[in-house]
Amino acid sequence: MSLEITDLSVKSDGKEVVSNITFTVNPGQIIAILGSNGAGKSELVLGIAGMLSASGGRVTVDGTDITGKSPDIVRVAGVAAVPEGHKVLTQLTVDENLRAAGSLRWSDLEANLLKTYKRFPELAARKSQLAGTLSGGQQQMVALAHALMSAPEYLIIDEMSLGLAPLIVKRLFGVVRELQNQGVGIVLIEQFTDLALSVADQAIVLRGGQSQYIGSASALLSDPNLLDEAYFGAGHQRAAL
């Protein structure tokens, strides 16, 4: 019972941007994936979600192989990814956004809808508003709601806090905690390290598409040099291409 990534490599237009990443997410566990800009974090997410094709390795959910499967299959298998930059279907209303996302679990759509609105009352209040007209924070909620509408067992969130006011970030991290307690396995991709590290059990640091550090989050948090080392390697030159 876990989401297992083994030696995963991802190619994005020709060049390999993620190479041989291995880690495991267990239910109720939070893993933070850190790394400076262009380290390959987002590509890793898209690779797992089936948006980018894996050039090597495998991804399995509770034993079933989903490597290179199309995004909707991955979703159905129980893995949901939230892309970077609070992306929403701008020309659709909030309600339509959620229904569109929920349509792959047609049978319990209404149930999931209810749950999601309970979790985000702010959205319930704006059901018929065009998602494009929402504030950044609200859009990030819709983005999260997209994922929740498929009742995922594993959730991968890319740069949840990027460009959001601290209070909203706090609010969203609350939601993440809730989900964790309900036994959802969560992967947090973050740049602002301490935030992520404070909630994560495990941490991985990427540089140049390769993992520089795998281990306990607290260790990284306590020892900034260790983090620095992993982030930029020795002597901080031309990090991550």
Binding site: P71, D72, S103, L104
Partner: protein, 318 residues
């Protein structure tokens, strides 16, 4: 109904009246009526073609220049069936079926390989497909005068002194039905919702688990059916000649442009207006020679009107 759309409507009404008055000035109203109705008849064909293009473009991002060619193949099949004295309804069905299969073949086997290219390349690639179909059709059916006729051609009613056959009424009726029906489909059904989200943001839709392949397949089928019906009507009302039907797609694009490749109702209005103006130009001794230019000029102007004001894009090409 926002303020903008009211202004647009007003502008449209003014423009049309001015044009009609300019061209029809001093002509007996009977003649005017004749050309007006005959224009509507042609316009409805432009509109029908445009609707088929827009439905597909919205859902898949492919502007299918091969629609006409597929329709031509369908129409020729229908003719062949009729030659073999097969029960008429089956011949019509075969037309739609053949067109559907051709369009679906492209949608399933070729379009996916181009999914990541920009819209223009997707569009021009379909021309290659159109050539294949046209080539095969003209190879199978050597050039010969043919005609396709429906029982509804025989029945007709008089409108403003012009006799209009039921077939033409069917064309206009179907166009309207398509517009309303597809609007409702997109608004109220699950697949419709998925199509709209696809049209909104393809990648995000994929990520949030919308079964792209399935939704697109449905879109290709839908547009195939429309293209088949269009081909049948072109074959009956214009000419049963593959090349002519194939390249009807270009004025159809003009109609589609009037709807910003998005709003079916505007496509309908645009198509009809083009037909009317083109037909009324016959009354102008100066311009009647070049009256087929009308759709293109209108489309270009409409496009410019839509795009007025917006000047720049942040990041990226388009």
């Amino acid at each position: 109904m926002t303020r903008g759309s009211i202004i647009n409507l007003a502008l449209y009404v003014c423009a049309m009246t001015v044009i009609v008055l300019l061209l029809g000035w001093g002509k007996p109203s009977k003649v005017l009526g004749l050309f007006f109705v005959s224009g509507l008849a042609v316009g409805s064909l432009y509109a029908l073609g445009g609707i088929g293009l827009v439905v597909l473009y919205r859902a898949t991002g492919v502007l299918n220049l091969a629609n006409g060619a597929a329709g031509a193949a369908g129409a020729m099949t229908a003719w062949q069936m009729a030659q073999w004295n097969i029960w008429a309804p089956f011949t019509w069905l075969s037309c739609i079926l053949v067109t559907l299969v051709i369009s679906l073949a492209y949608g399933r086997f070729i379009a996916p390989r181009l999914a990541w290219r920009e819209p223009v390349v997707k569009a021009v690639s379909t021309l290659g497909f159109a050539l294949i179909i046209l080539g095969l059709v003209s190879f199978i059916w050597a050039d010969d005068p043919r005609s396709l006729s429906l029982p509804t051609d025989k029945i007709g009613v008089r409108i403003l002194g012009l006799r209009v056959t039921v077939t033409r009424l069917i064309v206009i009726g179907t166009s309207v039905t398509f517009v309303v029906g597809i609007w409702a489909y997109l608004k109220y059904t699950a697949v419709g919702l998925q199509m709209r989200s696809l049209a909104n943001d393809r990648n995000l839709s994929a990520l949030i688990g919308i079964p792209i392949l399935r939704v697109e397949t449905i879109a290709w089928v839908l547009s195939g059916v429309i293209a088949g019906f269009t081909g049948l009507m072109f074959g009956d009302l214009i000419r049963l000649e593959p090349t002519v039907i194939t390249f009807m797609v270009i004025p159809s694009i003009a109609a589609a442009i009037c709807g910003r490749l998005e709003h079916l109702s505007l496509v309908l209005v645009g198509g009809l207006s083009m037909g009317v103006i083109e037909s009324l130009l016959t009354l102008s001794p100066l311009l009647k020679g070049v009256r087929p230019v009308a759709p293109f000029v209108i489309a270009a102007l409409v496009l410019l009107y839509y795009q007025r004001g917006n000047r720049l894009t942040f990041g990226g090409g388009n």
